[in-house]
Symmetry: C2
């Protein structure tokens, strides 16, 4: 069945690996009958900095609480047009693919700023105005899928389970778990192309093919098995129950494996 | 002995908890005789987006490689003035304190963009133009200390070893290890104030006192015991040796404990 996929990507050079993979992803997804919408953040001149200009009609002009003003602006329909447009694209999407170069082990600032401004209170957090009652596995983006598709300068070994940079899926946990699973999205394992700085023509073909293979599983592959807040593993909504993954600490404790 | 401390902070409201803690940190550090320099990113109107405007004299105008152009601009002294000014402040500092609200489990985009633009190739990576030869424990910022001082909306439990958000020090590993230890800084354990949205006058006093206590140890407390790349634990510079923390995987494997 035809689905709608939003591709958000961040590199200013149309000839970059990021731009080429985003274009390739678009073609592959259209080729299997999906509708594709895109947010090419550099080309759009996306405003990265989240600030008072994003709240033209303040709830409280005397102090700037981003949480309060975000909720107020979202609820009252007073957000700037660029934010509303991106939220509409996000809400229209059945899946979102984020294509970006890993810079200092995270998203480029322009993409982080897309998250901060588009993921409003009432939409991506504070679901139903109920604070943290609904999060991690349910929320305003439930029913959608997400996948990170990253390029790195270093070799794959550096991101392996005992690689010097740290294991890639743990480095990206703040995004996959804390940003995408938080509002209820099902998040697929991250797709990575390593050694991006030295890629040649054959490497490019291989990178396109590998991404295409992942995209063909976008709506069928198993998501990362993060634990839902309200699924029983966190009885008070904050801490894992003692009998769930007993003795396990850190990020991996939140994987139901 | 008197030292120089750079405080980088990110919140647009001068009355915010972030701004108040940054001001309090400045006063405490000056009170013990240190020189304090500041980068109030919102007040400076810091350009968050890393793009072609940061390379006014391109090495290669036909394609934009950030690594290549960053190295070229840094080496040839052709970086924009705002980047050069921040690099001079960074190089003058014996320690850097980053004060920010945790947004989607990371730095606000404006601060991420400070890292991306200021941490140039040849300064913070690609030390001595030698790619990854010198990193993690040595590099262009060796001899300096760093500390993250964050505020979070949620309760401390959410960030505990078995808290639903994930353990705070693992969430921040991409910054503490991947961004600050990478160019050689000694990184102190992160300082956090939780429940920032509902803080009252007494809570504010407690928050100031707790930060002051940490700042008094800025040059004496033990840093996080991350493993140096060239200290013997990573014989080929990429993977942990089999006999180091045998069987341990993920971020924690890089702690010498």
């Amino acid at each position: 069945m035809s689905k709608t996929v939003l591709i958000v990507h961040a590199h200013p050079d149309p000839a970059s690996l990021t731009a080429q993979l985003a274009a390739s992803a678009r073609d592959v997804l259209r080729g299997v009958g999906h509708e594709v919408i895109q947010s090419d953040l550099y080309a759009m001149g996306w405003k990265a900095v989240y600030d008072e200009r994003d709240f033209p009609r303040r709830r409280d002009a005397s102090r700037l609480s981003f949480v309060d003003e975000s909720g107020h602006a979202f609820r009252t329909g007073t957000q700037p047009d660029d934010i509303r447009t991106e939220q509409a694209k996000l809400l229209a999407a059945d899946a979102v693919v984020f294509q970006f170069p890993l810079w200092w082990f995270g998203m480029p600032a322009i993409m982080k700023g897309w998250i901060e401004r588009v993921f409003a209170y009432g939409l991506a957090y504070g679901h139903r105005g109920a604070g943290n009652t609904h999060r991690y596995g349910e929320g305003g983006l439930a029913g959608k899928r997400a996948m990170l598709s990253v390029t790195t300068g270093g070799p794959a070994d550096d991101y392996a389970a005992r690689g010097i940079n740290g294991q890639l899926d743990e480095l990206l946990f703040p995004i996959t778990h804390g940003t995408l699973f938080y509002p209820g999205m099902e998040v697929l394992p991250t797709h990575a192309v390593h050694g991006a700085g030295r890629i040649d023509g054959a490497g490019m073909d291989a990178a396109r093919a590998a991404l295409a293979a992942r995209l063909r599983g976008l709506f069928s592959d198993a998501p990362i098995p993060y634990r839902a807040q309200n699924g029983g593993d966190y009885p008070g909504r904050h801490l894992l129950a003692d009998d769930i993954a007993p003795g396990v600490t850190g990020l991996r404790a939140h994987l139901a494996v």
